[in-house]
């Protein structure tokens, strides 16, 4: 398989996942797509070195984080949310619950938001998150604790019933 084809195949597989991560960070699907495109372009430049698939994904995530944290166009989800709610969300839960977590994320500093998304969406370990973001594992832990406290404050404590009703329809 040609060099470029190999990259494109990787990009096809990786981009949906990367875009979702980017969306959780910036709350805007268009911006998320831009970020992923930029990140993947940089991945291509390094492609010869990182062609092994699992290394490529980690590299792509790291590059995406760099692009996101550096991007001055970072929007806060609450500003653009009204554009994003589709008219016919057949299986999707009520818009309010999506609004809730994205609003809560918007209240976190970008670094803390990145930690939350990497740990609880991408399911990376503390060490992996530290490697992606270039900080210490201790920093990741303290960021996580702080972020969860803040999220709890914003989201409020839910009863088990309310939670089940919301998410397990």
């Amino acid at each position: 398989m040609g060099f470029a084809d190999e990259f494109v195949e990787f990009a096809e597989v990786a981009s949906p996942r990367l875009r979702r991560t980017a969306f959780l960070l910036c709350g805007d699907w268009h911006l998320a797509e831009d970020l992923v495109q930029n990140a993947l372009a940089k991945v291509f430049v390094a492609w010869r070195r990182i062609r092994r698939q699992d290394a490529a994904y980690a590299y792509a995530t790291r590059t995406l984080m760099n692009c996101y944290l550096a991007d001055r166009r970072r929007k806060r989800p609450i500003e653009v949310l009204t554009d994003q709610i589709p008219d016919q969300a057949v299986a999707a839960p009520a818009p309010e619950s999506r609004l809730l977590i994205l609003t809560a994320l918007a209240g976190l500093p970008p670094g803390a938001r990145a930690v939350v998304v990497l740990r609880y969406w991408e399911d990376l370990s503390v060490d992996e998150v530290a490697r992606v973001l270039g900080c210490s594992p201790g920093n990741v832990r303290s960021q996580s604790t702080r972020a969860l406290s803040k999220l709890r404050l914003v989201l409020g404590e839910e009863t088990d019933e309310a939670r089940k009703e919301r998410y397990l329809r």
């Binding site: 959780l24 430049v45 609880y120 960021q143």
Partner: protein, 377 residues
């Protein structure tokens, strides 16, 4: 609300995603252009370098601040090529001697080491305490004595020249000591650490002075004297900074940043003693007399601000953070002046100190040895 709920909510939030555009193809085309630009040797955007370096290039994109800075002047900070130590070294803290010629580090292996600031070479052997790890180091104002604070709760005195221990240790605490410092006149020594206790000691006789000063939390991470020696500022593990009158040993003030959900990282008095800069997640200046915040909060980084110092003239603040950023701030207007982009994975900074002569900075990091930086002007 536990982690599982958060996971579920995040998974939820992405439902109803729109179809993906031709991202892969566009990325390929953009990547080819980027690669061409890089090969042509054009600096292009910093993004090109970011794509190539394995290092984390966050520093190169400091939002809103170009290397020249809005003030239009280049950063006053220059990287020095070397480092104090070898790649495996991981000092936690660094401290300058009063003549700015020696740097003491408290290393990850529990020892203290002395380094020549000029040559960056280790001076003599490492200083070890049997059965304990050294966490704090400080020079006496005369510069001939180094005091170490260790995990056994003891403060020990060492000859800077011979590295031999001088006299008996001070049994300062039953708990780990984290911070030790001399008063500017050398007459007092302050210790702090686990157990939430801050104590003063006679610098010569090593006997306790007064009663322990108790914080309401279990750990005091740092204690510093004001430039005139009349106040102490202590950093609690819950994010509170307390000000104490040294003579009466009574608390005279408290700075609580309710927005800061976490750890204090560093504190620094201005040279005139009127301002205390406090670095946590963000950076704030506080009036020492009124205990109120002065001016705007500064945001050096998306991550914790791990170190802050004032320059000698008090006009500039310098900060470091774990995402490879060193930044300068106008101490009066709180505007960012410049950012120093630092490449390399071992420059995720964990602390910062300035030499007494104001010409050098010393940084420690999470992944590498301590480094020195020249300060111009």
């Amino acid at each position: 609300m536990n982690e599982e709920s958060i996971r579920a909510m995040l998974a939820d939030a992405i439902s109803g995603e729109p179809p993906l555009g031709p991202v892969s193809q566009h990325a390929l085309r953009a990547g080819i252009r980027l690669r061409r630009r890089h090969r042509a040797g054009t600096a292009g955007s910093f993004a090109v370098v970011a794509g190539i370096a394995v290092a984390f290039p966050l520093a190169l994109h400091s939002p809103g601040v170009s290397p020249a800075g809005p003030a239009g002047r280049p950063p006053a900070i220059q990287e020095r090529a070397g480092s104090m130590g070898r790649p495996g070294d991981l000092p936690r803290k660094a401290s300058f001697s009063p003549d700015s010629k020696i740097v003491a580090t408290a290393d990850n292996d529990g020892t203290a080491r002395l380094w020549s600031a000029a040559t960056e070479r280790q001076m003599g052997n490492a200083i070890r305490v049997a059965g304990a790890q050294i966490w704090g180091v400080a020079f006496s104002p005369a510069g001939n004595v180094l005091v170490t604070a260790d995990t056994k709760g003891e403060a020990r005195f060492w000859s800077v020249a011979s590295h031999r221990q001088l006299g008996a240790p001070i049994k300062a605490s039953g708990w780990k000591l984290l911070s030790v410092t001399f008063s500017p006149d050398g007459k007092l020594l302050a210790t702090a650490g686990n157990g939430g206790t801050v104590r003063l000691w006679n610098g010569i006789t090593r006997r306790p002075v007064g009663a322990p000063m108790i914080s309401r939390v279990s750990t005091v991470t740092e204690v510093i004297f004001s430039p005139d020696g009349k106040l102490l500022a202590t950093s609690d593990s819950d994010g509170t900074v307390r000000l104490w009158n040294v003579a009466t040993q009574r608390q005279v003030g408290q700075l609580t940043n309710h927005d800061n959900l976490g750890l204090l990282q560093a504190t620094a008095f201005s040279p005139d003693g009127k301002i205390l800069a406090v670095a946590a997640f963000d950076l704030r200046e506080w009036s020492v007399s009124s205990h109120r915040q002065l001016g705007r909060t500064m945001h050096p980084s998306e991550f914790d601000t791990n170190g802050v110092v004032f320059t000698l003239d008090g006009k500039t603040l310098i900060t470091v953070s774990a995402n490879h950023l060193i930044r300068e701030w106008n101490a009066a207007t709180h505007r960012a002046i410049a950012s120093v982009p630092v490449a390399g994975t071992t420059n995720n900074f964990s602390s910062l100190v300035i030499s007494p002569d104001g010409k050098l900075l010393a940084t420690t990091s999470y992944s590498g040895p301590a480094r020195l930086w020249k300060l111009a002007g």
